[in-house]
């Protein structure tokens, strides 16, 4: 029996798809845009914090480079120190610790000299853009829930979109640039939606899975009598260490390199010579007789799954006391989490993610624009609600791109040692949100013309950011390539390319605007 979709059902799905899309497209575009940028979060960090522009060392000795620094810190006996190993994308040693007064610190060390790096205060990619992606930089839990509901909406939009589309297979590769603009936009929406459909579905799904405990903490609290405070206390106790301090003073750990070497050798023995090495080394109860070391890595070779492998050593006698591997039951959820976090070392996959993420932005944006063009066809182009959605869509699409450019430009213009009541990194974030707000106001005032005007602004602002990078750091594109600073070169190339594409879009939109919207004549003429 052949399954046939009734016209009534298709129309219902069409209505659902249209209005859910209009309601959520602005937020979804912001989430997808920042998510796509976050694919290169560490590269953005290197661009916005020039002190991180280092080449990954071929090998590093924690005993000679890091240990002397750790021993001079004022640490409580039961403190924990986390040491992040330098990587290609993060070519510095990262230190996290709480001092004797309980204050938390994060320090970065030059892996070649062991000296402390005085890094530009910026939330850059791995903090601001990354946090915005899943919580929209909102206080409390509100942003989490908005993103969660938007992810659910995205999945509903994908499913309803399949039913709305009349010829899923017949029009699989169809894009007709020679047709009228409304048709071109719909073709683009269908094409980007269909060919990357599994990606567009699994990304919001895995995002929901990652944050499920934030959305529904009560389910996790059930084993603790439903009390969230007890759950928090238990989790904190787990994170602070499995072996309690003995209360007897002891010397700080020596021979950290040996623990690293033994853990790496263990993984090589189990998985072969080419397996990945440790990402982190943590020392628990640093000045206590029950001090121990945990060597940890997150991505074994040939694995997407984000699951820590840990080897635990007792510092008192140097013996291995535990080895942890994720249980098979975790494999599926770890794989889904890993595919969303994108922290694995795989450049081809990273670029594929970037392009597919951009296609998601195109899909959302073209859906928005198709709705607006349909109102023009229905002679509702000047209706108040259409003007409102148009302003919203301009701010959502070109506005957030302009805001991102302002974020980069502010980073290069604000002096490193500026002393104001407001923190330097907050100034960059203010530049982002103020520009976004201004783009909305501009769209409200200039209406249709704002499309190409904001594209012209994009065409100017992204190359300006690249130019400012060259002026303030001296690392212009050719210099970056010569010094093998690929992250900086990549950022500059993408910014220049964005500028060129935005200029082409601006010119085309200006022409299209003149063709589509003829000047309105006063009544009676």
């Amino acid at each position: 029996m052949r399954f046939k979709i009734s016209e009534h059902f298709r129309q219902s799905m069409g209505w659902f798809h249209t209005w859910l899309g209009v309601a959520f497209s602005a937020v979804l575009f912001a989430i997808f845009w920042t998510g796509t940028l976050t694919v290169f979060d560490k590269e953005i960090d290197q661009w916005m914090k020039p002190e991180l522009r280092l080449i990954e060392p071929s090998g590093i000795s924690l005993d000679t480079m890091v240990l002397p620094f750790l021993k001079q810190l004022d640490l409580a006996p039961e403190s924990t120190v986390w040491i992040g190993m330098p990587r290609e994308r993060i070519p510095v040693v990262r230190l996290f610790y709480d001092d004797a007064s309980g204050a938390s610190h994060e320090e970065l060390l030059n892996p070649n000299t062991g000296s402390l790096l005085d890094v530009t205060d910026s939330d850059a990619g791995s903090e601001f853009l990354f946090h915005f992606h899943y919580m929209l930089h909102m206080p409390g839990i509100l942003g989490y829930y908005i993103v969660g509901i938007s992810a659910l909406a995205m999945m509903a939009l994908i499913i309803s979109g399949i039913f709305v589309h009349r010829k899923v297979f017949q029009e699989f590769f169809t894009f007709r640039p020679e047709k009228k603009s409304r048709r071109v936009v719909l073709d683009m929406h269908n094409l980007t939606g269909l060919i990357a459909l599994p990606f567009h579905f699994i990304i919001p799904f895995s995002g929901l899975l990652i944050l499920i405990s934030s959305y529904f903490p009560w389910s996790m609290a059930l084993p603790f009598g439903g009390d969230l405070h007890t759950l928090d206390a238990q989790l904190s106790a787990y994170e602070s260490g499995l072996i309690k301090a003995a209360g007897q003073p002891a010397a700080f750990a020596d021979h950290l390199d040996e623990y690293l070497h033994r853990a790496n050798a263990q993984w090589r023995e189990e998985e072969g010579e080419n397996t990945s090495t440790a990402d982190w080394l943590a020392i628990f109860n640093v000045y206590d007789a029950k001090s121990y070391v945990v060597v940890e890595r997150f991505f074994a070779n040939k694995r997407v799954a984000l699951g820590p492998d840990q080897v635990v050593f007792d510092i008192a006698n140097g013996e291995k006391i535990d080895q942890f591997k994720p249980l098979p039951i975790h494999a599926a959820s770890n794989w889904l989490e890993g595919l969303h976090w994108i922290q694995f070392d795989h450049w081809l996959l990273r670029w594929l993610y970037f392009f597919t993420g951009l296609s998601g932005c195109v899909m959302i944006g073209s859906g928005f624009i198709f709705w607006l063009q349909s109102r023009v066809k229905k002679l509702q182009a000047e209706a108040t609600h259409v003007r409102f959605v148009r302003a919203l869509s301009i701010a959502a699409i070109t506005g957030i791109m302009l805001a991102t450019a302002a974020f980069f430009i502010a980073n290069r213009l604000i002096p490193r040692d500026i002393s104001l009541d407001i923190a330097r990194q907050d100034l960059e974030i203010w530049a982002f949100f103020l520009t976004w707000l201004l783009s909305l106001l501009h769209a409200g005032v200039r209406d249709k013309a704002a499309w190409h005007e904001q594209c012209f602004m994009l065409a100017a602002s992204y190359p300006l950011a690249a130019l400012l990078n060259a002026i303030t750091t001296g690392d212009h594109l050719i210099a970056s390539i010569r010094q093998s600073l690929w992250a900086v070169a990549l950022m500059d190339i993408l910014m220049l390319l964005t500028g060129v594409l935005a200029a082409i879009a601006a010119i085309r939109l200006q022409l299209l605007n003149k063709q589509c919207y003829k000047p309105e004549l006063p009544m009676g003429q």
Binding site: F173, V304, W335, T356
Partner: protein, 102 residues
């Protein structure tokens, strides 16, 4: 290995596109014979499986589960854009297929 996986994926999407009447007509300016449609789709499926095998050999199952569909996305996009802007670049391929399988 991954280069060959991409090439096979690209060829598969070309064949899938050419197996559709509209695209065949746009490229060859003639009607697509019914028997060729089936052969093209069969060939495309074979190439997609071959692409998956090369992905698996090069990157293992964990990465291949992501790389293979994303390669399919990129190559499909390239195919759609080729058909939209430069359909004549597919003409030699279509004529070869017509000659050998037609």
């Amino acid at each position: 290995m991954i280069f060959f996986a991409a090439i096979f994926s690209q060829l598969a999407t070309f064949f899938l596109a050419l197996s559709q009447t509209r695209h065949w007509k746009r490229v060859v300016k003639a009607t697509l014979p019914a028997f060729l449609r089936f052969k093209l789709r069969l060939l495309a499926c074979f190439l997609l499986v071959l692409s998956l095998i090369f992905c698996l050999l090069a990157e293992g199952a964990s990465f291949s589960a992501l790389i293979w569909p994303l390669l399919f996305f990129v190559t499909s996009l390239l195919t759609a854009m080729s058909l939209a802007y430069k359909p004549h670049i597919l003409e030699p391929l279509a004529r070869c297929l017509n000659y050998f399988y037609g």
